[in-house]
């Protein structure tokens, strides 16, 4: 493979496209597919054929606004339809070239206003199982570029210049991480893509793997070239069967086209990727636990240092980045590090994909430049809290994050701003809560999560989360005293300061942030034996959350 061949593939794909007058793109992400969007695609294809319209019906990945699904996008008009059923095929096809079908308007309002697609640039436009469609949109240009024009050091330089930081939660500078692994001597090195999207309420990585898997493969290959690795693994949750299937096909396709394997693009560079399935353990999102899991062992973390960069998979130098981080790599190489660093804030560059869920009008996947405010996302893109209820808090960062109240809505999103507000970026889950949510029981929910997901290796996390969960339960039941609250606070401090890995170190965060902003709710449970939101057992309301 060389530049000409790559261009040829792209040209061929374009030629294929040009044969058609219209493109009907049907979302077949997990969410829409579960509403039988495959049957909708078949119905539209059949209808188009019977009408004799030159129309290409394509399967695509998630288009974003999941709540309006199943979604259909008609090109070149750019018309979006929502809540499409099989029976709508006839109307959709007959409307091609004319006025859109009014009743299928997804009513997305300002959903796409302010969104900026880097990671999701191909979403809705390509068939995730066809590598050529990816190539037609500029795919693998970046890989070819690094292999033919750049030294590994130059690649790392561009990544460093871009200011890209790890999208998995910690926000460690990606260029620095690559540089470290590149400098470690080792005959065998590995690249691992962390697709163990464990944060409940987050589905960015699932969407990317389902919709545009080649992008992740390309990103990994570029990383492998930069650090000198020949072998890669994608660690995906087994709970994401569609992502696994799409990724499997994508790897096969990439190998077929020569983007993976021996002597890639006629260079001496060889690299291949295997899939490893997670088996339902949140802690495996932690680097060292993930490595243990790939090695076929219990996913328990080990103390760092040594970091995986020095001693990772089977003791060899290993680079671990998450799905979204790798997905950012090809456009950075294509457009240059400076292009990427022109987006975002001073210390958080580029865009970030968020999974917008909870008590919000328009749920779904969004990608916005760093620095956008929470208010813009929640009230602009998301359309605010439905059913006339009042916004109470937004939870970011999953079980390691925190709940931010109304007064923080104008916070500009960046790694550092979220941390100083008592939460964190996490992998991108953004869950909106209204006044029917009790913040104590939300804290208890997260503590229960951490308790059941604790690997059990170190005692502060193993035993501390149980104790904190019991204290939170006591508070929810209206059986706690101020002394219990003091003990809870002390446990938060000790567990956070002494746990072995990130899970335990951040497990107190949901408690600490709710204590910081919603202390009055705790005190209402303790002093007045009352749940202000009417959720907990101690309140006269009958609704019970376990």
């Amino acid at each position: 493979m060389n530049v000409e061949e790559l261009q040829q593939i792209a040209a061929q794909a374009q030629e294929e496209r040009d044969k058609f007058d219209y493109e009907v793109n049907v979302c077949m992400g997990t969410s829409c597919l579960s509403q039988h969007s495959d049957r909708i695609r078949d119905a539209i294809a059949k209808e188009a054929e019977s009408c004799g319209k030159k129309c290409h019906v394509r399967r695509t990945g998630c288009m974003g606004p999941c709540a309006a699904g199943p979604m259909v996008l008609v090109e070149p008009a750019g018309t979006q339809y929502g809540h499409v059923r099989e029976g709508d095929a006839k109307d959709i096809v007959s409307a091609l070239g004319g006025d859109p079908v009014a009743r299928l308007d997804p009513r997305l309002g300002s959903y796409f206003e302010g969104q900026h697609f880097v990671v999701l640039e191909n979403v809705g436009h390509i068939d995730p199982e066809k590598v050529d469609e990816y190539v037609a949109r500029g795919g693998y240009e970046a890989l070819l570029k690094v292999l033919t024009e750049m030294t590994p050091a130059q690649v790392i330089e561009q990544i460093s210049k871009s200011g890209l930081r790890g999208r998995g939660g910690g926000g460690y500078p990606t260029g620095l991480k690559w540089d470290t692994v590149a400098k470690v001597k080792g005959a065998q090195k590995y690249v691992i893509c962390n697709g163990d999207e464990g944060d409940p309420g987050a589905f960015m990585d699932r969407s990317v793997l389902e919709s545009d898997p080649q992008r992740v493969i390309e990103g990994m290959a570029i990383a492998a070239y930069a650090i000198g690795a020949t072998k890669g693994y994608v660690y995906v949750r087994a709970e994401y069967p569609l992502a696994v299937q799409r990724l499997t096909v994508a790897l096969r396709e990439a190998r077929r086209r020569g983007f993976l394997g021996n002597a890639i693009c006629e260079t001496t560079f060889s690299f291949d990727i295997d899939i490893r399935l997670g088996a339902g353990a949140f802690v495996c999102g932690e680097e060292t636990a993930l490595i243990a899991s790939i090695e076929g062992k219990r996913g328990t973390p080990r103390p760092r240092p040594p970091y995986p960069a020095v001693s990772g998979l089977w003791g060899d130098p290993t680079l671990i980045n998450n799905v979204e981080t790798f997905a950012n790599v090809p456009p950075i190489i294509r457009h240059g590090g400076e292009w990427f660093s022109s987006m975002g804030t001073a210390r958080s560059k580029g865009t970030k994909v968020f999974a917008l869920t909870g008590k919000i009008q328009r749920t779904g996947l969004v990608e916005v430049p760093m620095g956008m405010t929470l208010r813009q996302i929640i009230f602009g893109i998301g359309g605010g809290v439905p059913d006339g209820r009042k916004f109470k808090a937004v939870q970011t960062g999953g079980p390691s994050g925190g709940c931010l109240p109304e007064e923080h809505l104008d916070l500009s999103i960046s790694y550092d701003a979220l941390i100083s507000a008592g939460s964190m970026m996490g992998s991108g889950g953004m869950i909106v809560m209204d006044d029917t949510s009790c913040m104590v029981s939300v804290a208890r929910f997260f503590m229960e999560f951490c308790m059941t997901e604790s690997c059990g290796k170190c005692v502060p996390c193993r035993a501390g989360t149980v104790q904190m969960y019991n204290l939170l339960t006591k508070i929810c039941k209206g059986e706690a005293t101020r002394r219990d609250l003091d003990q809870l606070t002390e446990l938060c401090e000790v567990v956070g300061a002494t746990s072995l890995c990130g899970l335990g170190q951040t497990a107190p965060n949901p408690v600490l942030s709710t204590l910081r902003y919603f202390r009055h709710e705790y005190l209402a449970h303790i002093d007045e034996k009352r749940c202000p939101a009417g959720v907990c057992e101690c309140s006269p309301a009958v609704e019970v959350h376990a």
Binding site: T30, S34, S207, G296, G358, I431, V544, H545
Partner: protein, 166 residues
Amino acid sequence: MPLYAERPPLPSEDKRWRIVNGTMRKHGYSRNALIETLHTVQSSFGYLDEPAIKFVVRSLRVPLSQAYGVVTFYHFFSLKPPGKHTCTVCTGTACYIKGAQKLVAEAEKRLHIRTGETTPDGEVSLATVRCVGDCGRAPVVLFDGELSAQMEAPRLAAQLERWTTQ
């Protein structure tokens, strides 16, 4: 019989053991293929019983205790056979905020079992999962692995009713 002298024969004529063996062969009977192999057993047989684990550990030469540690560490593996049908309620954050606990309570009430159990007649298993990633349309329930979103208690009850009265 010596513990790990040679690769053990397939436990039975059941063709599914060939699939399991295939996974191990693909990984060159490497120890680190343990989880991959267990995944194959779980997806082929629906659960992992003792003979299956012993077959795998003897083939891969993994210590028994290590294999059992792995099986019990990951939620995805089950030591008990599942029911004919499986109802899995997602208890991720978005689903929680949208009232997943009420769905769990409803299912437990209808089936007269607790989460993680199977009805005595072996018809329905009730499970929870930490996020299947369809948070945009929470709350979510999987019926026999098929995703049903924006679930409500009456719809859930109706589906369980269909299963139990078949």
